[in-house]
Symmetry: C2
Subunit: 208 residues, 2 copies
């Protein structure tokens, strides 16, 4: 069963269990999905209301993006567990003969690259959620400011958790070009994210 | 149906909907619950293994605390929605006669105090999760360092989100003693939390 089809309760119990999946990677993706959901909520509490008519089109566009990110991050929570299971499976391959050792090494490297790709995509999607929150924070229904603030916090935690998982996986990867490209992608995601989050909080604090 | 009995998917859809609950308060409590679950996971990947025998008792104690916090935060995700629904109900009370206005004012103030208590408890529990992560970070199975790092990030986001919701509710409360006590409680929770989080990250980064 996919994580998204489990009851919240059951997912949390599995997270707390000694089973390797779901783990931190899956939970950070779900934190990002909650962040995206809260951006959607803030947009939906704004669109279709006369006094916000001038931002209607922009917020409808942001809502569509946030919904796509929510679904993407929900899927990434499952993809992370699958990718990690493949890493574990590769480590369990036989390593008695030189041929087996070579095959195992190749399988581990390939699985680690797969397991790096998932948190990279999670980081990318979480970064996009923080950016959307910053884009709309001055335009949304003020009743939803707390929700938009929580959105930015959860997506930021998702981003930093994903960044951590990228670093942990990269530490085991031998291909220097893959490592460099992954680090460059991550750098692009992180660029400007602190400013975006500060912008969200300056507006939210101004209304409290 | 309680949030914890819903499928992850359904909860996220409801979060993204224009319905006022679940909202940011519920999502931040669930982020804290995921953080607590990841502390439990890190402890369970450590206890019962010979090479970690010297920290067995301490980690078993932390595991028990983390599990209690996980269940508490899961319940707070529901309590937040209920408390917010009561605020909304109080605002909808009739306000035509002076007697109705007085009754409505009293109901709103009482509901706002209830709606402040929930994020205060969420902040307290999330702060406890960050502290547990800091307590065990140098003692757990190194395989679980990424999970413990994610735990600290998610619980910190939960704490800050809860802090935001406390501030938003306090802004509407007239009783200065209640406001002061709530702010003092929050101050106690926040004290030392940044150092605890930095400690977690110094150890995790040292292993990457």
């Amino acid at each position: 069963m996919t994580h998204k089809d489990k009851r919240v309760n059951v997912y949390l119990e599995e997270l707390a269990s000694s089973s390797a999946t779901p783990g931190g990677g899956s939970a950070t993706a779900l934190a990002g999905a909650m962040g995206a959901g809260l951006v959607s909520m803030a947009c939906r509490l704004t669109v279709g209301r006369k006094r916000f008519a001038d931002v209607e089109d922009e917020l409808q566009g942001v809502l569509d993006e946030a919904e796509a990110l929510r679904l993407r991050l929900t899927d990434l929570a499952d993809a992370d567990s699958q990718a990690f299971d493949q890493v574990m499976a590769a480590y369990r391959l036989p390593k008695e003969t030189p041929a087996q050792q070579t095959a195992r090494h190749t399988a581990i490297q390939s699985a680690l690259q797969g397991a790096t790709q998932v948190p990279l995509e999670t980081a990318l999607a979480c970064g996009a959620v923080v950016r959307l929150a910053a884009q709309v924070i001055e335009k949304i229904n003020p009743n939803a400011l707390g929700d938009a603030g929580a959105a930015a916090l959860l997506a930021e935690a998702g981003l930093k958790g994903a960044q951590l998982n990228v670093a942990i996986n990269l530490a085991g990867i031998n291909d220097p070009i893959f490592v460099q490209q992954a680090n460059e992608e991550l750098h692009t995601v992180l660029c400007g994210i602190d400013k975006d989050k500060e912008r969200v909080f300056a507006v939210v604090s101004g209304h409290v």
